[in-house]
Amino acid sequence: MSKRRVVITGLGTINPLGNSVSESWEKLINGISGIDNITSFDTGDLPVTFAGEVKNFDANEYMGKQHARKLDRSGHLSIYAAEQALLDAGLNPEERMGSNCGIVFGTGIGGIGATEDAVRVYDERGASRINPLAITQLMPNSSTGQVAIKFGIEGPSLTITTACAASANAVGEAKNMIENGIVDIVVAGGTESGTTPMTIGAFAQIRALSTKNDTPAEACSPFDKNRDGFVMAEGSTVLILESEESAKSRDAKIYGYVVGYGSTTDAHHITAPAEGGEGAVRAMDKALKDASLSVDDVDYINAHGTSTPANDKNETSAIKTLFGSKAYEVDISSTKSMTGHLLGGAGAFESMVCILSLQNGVIPPTINLNNKDEECDLNYTPNNAVNKDMNIAMSNSFGFGGHNGVLVFSKT
């Protein structure tokens, strides 16, 4: 039996670039950074004082204080992005989605802000004053459950916590659900809000973050010789995945197709990528095979491209290993140069970027790429967007733990 084709019918996002798909896309193709000094808390003695924060979003105003109090910020962002995506797909967020709709959400660290707050209160005021909502805010599946409750999603649900690959895996597992006929619609996405004091401090301790505090918007410089780490960012992106027949039967707009998914594990080191990006090579290969495509078909790769010395070098090696001489021809870019690293929300956001790139025929640039690194010598679309008629895009996501999730999208 042939697999059912999976289409994307709706997009929603809230991230450091903007609080809508159109605003985000506009910034992406114009090479505008969403990174700035941290404003949501006093950075005290943190060695990093900037991040990609969501701006102009008041959860109390959006959902009412009584509801907003029950969720961590990662949950607020999830509901906001999911509502946008449902509306964009022509579905009514006021109606229950029912049992023919599933949800797969990715997050790296769940309600980490709620965790930090609850520990602070415990230390200061003791056990009897711990927020009774702490558990339901901090559990990694909180957003999955809250989005399901809000929109009445009664089909299967999964929460994926493969660190920075989480929402790439979420989109991939959602694709599988639809291909296999389990449900017709899946709300697939990711969320993260780890722009919090302890979390930034802890990532800084392992030297994962850029410390270019004086130039926040230029700090994230994937593939540049002077790159010095990633930039923490927060946000949520949601895609509505649907069987092609379901979308056509209700005359829904079709952005494009999810055609390939590859998931592998390095089984090497908890943070460092395997030498030469071996696990990444296998994930890209599996995704292409799943799509019945070859490297020659790929028009654009949205790289993981975190701006850490190790990732960008190994991802480059991995692309060369799989693509051979074609590696030097394929257009690549890292949109993390503008958003920062959305961690568990990155895969969903970058899936959206791939779909919009295919649809609009524009490749967003890698900004802040000015100094050539001999170990990163591919075409990363430096600093300016490129117009190109394309049909196939690939999105790479790799996470701490050695998790690799690769997706392939098609315009037709």
């Binding site: 109390n60 009412g64 204080k65 009584q66 907003a68 109090r69 009897s128 927020n131 009774p132 339901t136």
Partner: protein
Amino acid sequence: METNEVFDKVKGLFVEDLGIDESKVTMEAKLEEDLEIDSLGIVEVVMAFEDEFDIEIDDEELADVSTVGEAVKLLHSKI
């Protein structure tokens, strides 16, 4: 403290701290049905009462409390 003063303080907590619509907070309002305070929320409410009135409330004492008025009565008896 008079009953109406206790009610005013309770109303203030519900509106300011919990984000409940002011017009819904009456003596007759049912905590769960009318104010949408669920089983998790009730723990928050108790914590807020304890802090505001500097008292301790045992779980058993809550058995007969289902409306704002009953909460006010309980608090009034403990202050």
